[in-house]
């Protein structure tokens, strides 16, 4: 894995490590590398321990290593939290001279030949004529020096950023140069970086939630309804801050039930509306999702998962809501469950979700994770926009006409058309409520035929890696990223079968692997292997090997390498 490098910032929430991380991400990207940035932070506004880690490489990467070559900390707590993640021969940079190292930490530092660098960033900032608040910039510049990249690239990024703020750019520039040129630097600090990428530097960096937001805009969503809940909230922020450019109607609802009902009402009237939430909010929406199912109203909800039941660990990652998405909600009704893995497929699959909801007139649940929602991915460009497919058909005698493929005609209300009632009551073809046994059977069977039609039209899971590989991981969501990093950047001979479309479950490709006696390993960010359970239910196959992680952290590269040892 020596074609990748990692820098981690540690500090309290509120000390500005996000800004540091974003600036460094951009400057590294502009220097010709592919980056992946990962954040850890507590569920509070001030204090606690937070980190921002930037991994970069000359090849595509989309996950983090557990260890970093450089750790730069802005407070003592984060030093103690993260010191053991510094790689041998790495750097520890800290700006608080009163930091007390434990004996154990001192031993770790000397045994691993780590350079312990006290950087008086405040002093550097003030001596350069800047203000104390600019000391983070001195830190940034010093790091830049240790990796020996072109100062102009960093300077451009930093000054462009501060040009939007009310600060003295001359002072920022002076502090930046002072940090870069400080006599604290010694030649032995210099870090060996991987060679630069041959990719054009004009790549883009965005989070998974940015990808979703842009997909919603591209895909013709005209109303966004949501109640704040980490890690889905940043979709509201992006769509809100761009609402003048897009004209999208934004409504922060009084709760998740309202958000779901607003979306349902807007969809029934014929526009495209969406809501997003995390586990707790999703639970509140389940009755509405069931209602969308029986009333055959298109509905799209993004479920950005975090770790744990109840409130759990709100700002940490996990993928324990697959079962809720597939099985949640009362009664039996058709639905589709899709899983995102990165910014790029977030953009495309959310558009696909909108098309499926419209065409099949059912609820679509789009699963993402904190690890995808809030991490930064670099990509050359976004994929092509998907053409909008609404599946809206001509007006018929009956809205809920019994059809062979299970899909009835649905027309958008307009003043020249025949009115109809959408209903959560069991109903006959014209929407009249019914309790008649034959009529109940006819309509429920019609709806379930939609699932067969949908299943026939969904793609099989995607296979990555050498087709001859013996050991093949099977997973969904962010698990894909870490496995792809292993496949693309090491000579480990493994394969990976990735489920984008989770439900209805496609099993042909998987069964082919089972029949070919491959060593299948289930990989999931949850405790019970939820995809594995679903696969067992549908195929009878039980995974003998499982790699499950559920401590709020994503899979790191080392987790997979250790597993393969």
């Amino acid at each position: 894995m020596n074609n990748r490098f990692s820098i981690k910032f540690g500090g309290e929430s509120g000390q500005g490590i996000n800004t540091l991380g974003k600036l460094l991400s951009k400057a590294i990207k502009d220097s010709g590398y592919k980056i992946f940035a990962y954040r850890e932070y507590p569920s509070l506004i001030r204090g606690g321990v937070a980190s921002y880690q930037i991994d970069f490489s000359n090849k595509e990467i989309c996950s983090s290593t557990r260890s970093s070559q450089i750790l730069a900390v802005l407070d003592e707590d984060s030093l103690h939290e993260y010191i053991k993640t510094i790689s041998p021969n790495g750097l520890l940079i800290y700006d608080d001279k009163d930091v007390a190292f434990t004996v154990e930490e001192d031993t770790f530092i000397s045994e691993n030949n780590i350079s312990k660098i006290y950087l008086d960033t405040k002093q550097i900032a003030i001596q350069a004529g800047g203000d104390e608040i600019m000391s983070n910039v001195a830190m940034l510049a010093f790091i830049w020096k240790t990796v020996d990249l072109d100062l102009n690239t960093l300077q451009k990024t930093v000054l462009e950023y501060f040009a939007k703020k009310d600060v003295d750019l001359k002072k920022e520039e002076a502090v930046l140069k002072a940090g870069f040129n400080t006599p604290t630097y010694r030649p032995e600090f210099k870090q060996e970086l991987p060679s630069k990428s041959i990719f054009p530097t004009k790549t883009i960096i965005m989070s998974g939630n940015d990808g979703i937001s842009l997909g919603l805009i591209s895909g013709g969503v005209r109303a966004y309804y949501a109640y704040p809940m980490t890690p889905a909230t940043s979709i509201l922020k992006y769509l809100g801050t761009t609402y003048k450019e897009t004209g999208i109607l934004i409504k922060q609802a009084e709760n998740e039930i309202t958000a779901a009902q607003l979306a349902l009402g807007s969809m029934s009237m014929g526009t495209r509306a969406v809501t997003a939430t995390s586990g707790g909010g999703f639970d509140l929406m389940l009755e509405s999702i069931s209602c969308a199912g029986i009333s055959e109203t298109p509905f799209v909800v993004i479920l950005s998962q975090r770790a744990g039941a109840g409130t759990g660990v709100p700002t940490w990652t996990g993928a324990g809501d697959l079962y809720t998405a597939v099985k949640g909600g009362h009664g039996e009704f058709p639905r589709c469950v899709i899983s995102l893995s990165n910014a790029e497929d977030s953009y495309t699959l959310i558009q696909s979700a909108l098309n499926i909801a419209d065409q099949y007139q059912l609820p679509v649940i789009v699963l993402t994770e904190k690890q995808i929602s809030e991490s930064l991915f670099s990509l050359n460009k976004l994929p092509k926009v998907l053409p909008i497919e609404r599946g809206i058909k001509e007006e018929k005698e009956n809205r809920y006409e019994i059809t062979e493929n299970g899909i009835s005609s649905r027309w958008i209300p307009n003043e020249n058309s025949k009115p109809y009632i959408s209903t959560s009551d069991e109903h006959i073809e014209d929407g009249t409520s019914t309790e008649n046994s034959q009529e109940i059977l006819k309509m429920t069977e019609k709806r379930s035929r939609k699932m067969e039609t949908l299943k026939d039209n969904l793609p099989e899971p995607t296979y990555y890696g050498n087709s001859q590989a013996k050991k093949i991981f099977v997973g969904w969501g962010s698990s894909k990223n870490v496995i792809l990093d292993i496949i693309n950047n090491t000579d480990t001979n493994i394969g990976y079968l990735h489920y984008e479309y989770i439900y209805p479950l496609k099993t042909e490709k998987l069964e082919e692997l089972i029949n070919n006696d491959k060593e299948l390993v289930l990989i999931e960010s949850n405790q019970t292997g939820e995809l594995g359970k679903l696969i067992k239910e549908e195929t009878g196959y039980e995974f003998k090997e499982k790699l499950l992680k559920f401590d709020g952290r994503p899979f790191f590269v080392e987790d997979i390498l250790d597993f393969l040892k």
Partner: protein, 285 residues
């Protein structure tokens, strides 16, 4: 030319108890739509679950029979998608004051341009007579031999507290008045709340048509302040004042306050197409 009132009839026969207030409420609604020349294809109504919701397939206009307590946000979603539609939320005192009380308060606060009909029959009738926040104190109800142990919610007082733009009170035994109120509510630009005292001959036998006749007083003039309006809803005796209790036409609607929609003439339903994001993408470079 008004729309013929029979055009709003569905093929289905009502299933309410003989003497139920819902018959007259439906008639009043159809009459108002007809006189406002709003065709069956130009109106949308979201029904709650309850006896009122059993009227969902008994009227021929666009609509959605959704979930208990949720008629209001469902209607709002439909309204925001296409403001050319006249949108109603139809809900009982149970669904409105219990399961979905939050929605009523936030709808008034946002002042969406919809009309909310609260059927106040003073009980959960469809589940055979449980107490609601408007059930009389001390009255034996389902599972409550000594009556409900909570105090009441006075709908009018609650609505007025939220500084509404339109609040009216009507009575199912006076469909002509209700129809006139409905017309005013539909033409009012904002969130119109109409509380309808509804006869329930099965579970609210105390409030007979005769009882209502003795207690109802039609107000002469709409109050010009919240304070004055309050005198119509908080009475010392049991008098029920009906009519348009309060109206304020100066409060902007939710949609009118959306800065990004100000110069857009189209409705959200007209705007579903692929959008070019290349400009937005520049910020990610």
């Amino acid at each position: 030319m008004s729309v013929n009132i029979t055009e709003y009839n569905s093929k289905n026969k009502p299933t309410w108890c003989p003497g139920c207030g819902n018959f007259a409420i439906h008639t009043a609604l159809k009459k108002a739509l007809s006189e406002l020349d709003i065709s069956p294809s130009q109106a949308y109504i979201s029904f709650d679950i309850g006896c009122n919701g059993n009227g969902a397939d008994k009227i021929n206009i666009y609509g959605f029979k959704g979930l208990h307590g949720r008629a209001i946000p469902l209607a709002i979603g439909a309204h925001l998608a296409n403001r050319k539609y006249t949108v109603f939320a139809d809900i009982g005192d149970g669904g409105c004051l219990h399961e979905g009380l939050d929605h009523l308060l936030h709808a008034i606060r946002a002042n969406y341009n919809i009309t909310i009909l609260i059927h106040n029959n003073q009980n959960f009738a469809l589940t055979t007579g449980q107490a609601t926040a408007t059930t009389q104190q001390g009255k034996e109800m389902y599972g409550l031999p000594d009556g409900k142990p909570e105090r009441d919610i006075n709908i009018g007082d609650l609505v007025l507290t939220m500084n509404p733009s339109f609040y009216a009170k009507a009575y199912s035994g006076d469909p002509l008045q209700l129809s006139e109120i409905l017309k005013k509510a539909v033409t009012h630009k904002g969130c119109s709340v109409i509380e309808i005292m509804q006869i329930c001959p099965t579970y609210n036998r105390e409030c007979t048509p005769q009882w209502f006749k003795e207690h109802i007083k039609v107000i002469d003039k709409t109050a010009n302040t919240i304070e004055n309006a309050r005198t119509f809803v908080k009475t010392e005796d049991e008098t029920i004042y009906t009519g348009i209790i309060y109206q304020n036409t100066t409060i902007p609607t939710f949609y009118d306050r959306l800065e990004n929609r100000k110069d857009i003439p189209t409705e959200l339903v007209d705007e579903v197409k692929n959008y070019d994001i290349s400009k937005l993408l520049k910020n990610f470079e």
